[in-house]
Amino acid sequence: MIKINKRASLPKRKEMMIQALAVLLSLVFAGLVILAMGYNPLEVYYRIVEGSVGTIIRIQQTINKAVPLIIVSMGILVAFKMKFWNIGGEGQIMMGAFGATLVALNLPESVPTPIMLLAMAVMATLCGAIWAFIPAFFKAKFGTNETIFTLMMNYIAIKFVTYMQFGPWKDPSFGGFPKVASFHDNAIMPSLFGLHIGWIIALFAVAGVYIFIHHTKRGYEISVVGESLDTARYAGMNIKAIIITAMLVSGGLCGLAGMIQASAIEKTLTYTISAGYGFTAIITAWLGRLSAPVVGVVCFLFAMLLQGSSFLQASMAIPASVADMIQGVILFFVLGSDFFLQYKVVLKDKKAVKEVA
């Protein structure tokens, strides 16, 4: 007979061992799938590492992918800490990029770069925050299901930006090709050490969210609401205000990431600008156990996987979807391993039970 007991607590070392084992097992399992596809899994893994950190340029590309992922993950983290399932990151990124573009296309070319970028960032943060505020308001006021609401907001944002790109903002100079005008130089983020300065923003985001969650009253309240609504209510916390602030922060960060993508990477607005970061961030936030520094590290590893697999496509003609598959498998195993962190499976002898009875 199998019995499941809840663990009291687990030494940190054992916890890390179980998780490392889960990741290892997942790599073995994903390797078997890759093998079944007719490729050498060791070579695939090697190429992923080589393609993501093999040369300076590749490291830069990996960091470029990590930057938006980290910022969005920080946003998602704040919402998840409250058990508010914000799966609307995609839409919030999209609206942030829209806000940044709105500023970039309408302010004159003569505006100095710092002022231009600041205005874009403020507008992007605002647009992302507004996009998150809408579901947060209804959640706070009526208890409307936020999972579906934020999800639907993604699609509205994507369709809206698509509409802008194919309609009002279509630049005639591209000869019928549906493309928004490229930004002027003053709306493009400057580089530092060969990288756009987004990485500094990402580091600030990690530190900021860490301080916000652990060292501010509101941050503490967010954790309490996430742990137990009853406790929060009993302590007399203003739950509505807490939900709304957390989502404003969450959406604002996603919006800011949208601005960085528009300004530094695409140098314009496209309807694919969110590139799945809003969804990947949910996974990285969860894998990092909603702890800002750990999530940051996980994001970098995921960025390696993303960058490495686009290299795979070029060097081994393996579709980049292999990255999705590996991500999925790793996460399945880590999610499954959580169970063994929290519970102990005891095999009990049936006879022994009878004797006791």
Binding site: I4, N5, K6, V33, M37, W85, I87, F138, F142, G143, T144, N145, T147, I148, F149, L151, M152, M153, Y155, I156, K159, F160, T162, Y163, F166, G167, F279, T280, I282, I283, W286, P319, A320, S321, V322, A323, D324, M325, I326, Q327, G328, V329, L331, F332, L335, G336, D338, F339, Q342, Y343
Partner: protein, 308 residues
Amino acid sequence: MESFLVAVVVASMPLLFATLGELLSEKAGNLNLGVEGMMLMGAVIGFRVGLATNSPILAVLAALLAGAFGAAMFAFLTVSLRANQVVTGLTLTIFGSGFAGLVGRDVVGVPLSLQLRNSFDAIPIPLLSKIPVIGKPLFDQDILVYFGFACVILILLYFKKTRIGLNTRAVGENAAAADASGINVNLYKYLNITAGGALCGLGGAYMTLVTIPVWQQDVVAGRGWIAVALVIFASWRPVKAWLGALLFGALSILGYRLQAMGISLSQYLVDMIPYIATILVVIVSTYKNRKEDLPPADLSNPYFREER
């Protein structure tokens, strides 16, 4: 008009199968956000098996199995290993998309044999198909459309009349109470989640076997997410799910039709309507707080007997 309605029914089928599938899962209390992934798995496996065997039956069966396999992984993680449903569902979507990309990498754009495609030709039902306006759209369609209609009725009866269906509802409403009354909660969850996954797989395969019919990576194109929304739009009722699928199917082709008629309305703006409509439905149903419009009370709450 008639040809538009015929196209609406065809456009609604992937949504209908997936919505019914998700409905089964949610009625048992598990919110599975992996619909898109399961549809992709069904779409690619159904297509590949169809390509290899030329057998419509094997292709459909394989699609059902592929979807069920994805759902079974979700069930194992969320029911047995008690993982978070939102995160597990999202993972399933990512996994499914990667899986489909790998499995389908060398059959992109390959056409299915004429023989296989012909097996999904419209079969007019005598007399009924002659009814003006609704006859052709409803009773002169391919076999899977009829199967979809049958599913609506079967699932309606399942939840209203059969013991298994009623027990499933009990599990979704209050797992602890269901357990106390002797219902095997985990078994019911597994059963409904897996069956639901099979339907999602079929929904995906409908695209690659009938609608398009060809495999390409973006074939499902967010329909899985629409299905998740449709379940709420339909307040967890099969017949409303069918009407919702028709409505969303109609909206998905309306913009192009209007443009063809010379009315200029951007398809992208029309495309927004279903999502806005879903949000309105969610708001109104929570605002009115009508019991029968609310989700199953235990939806997405994990059930641990030990922690009762």
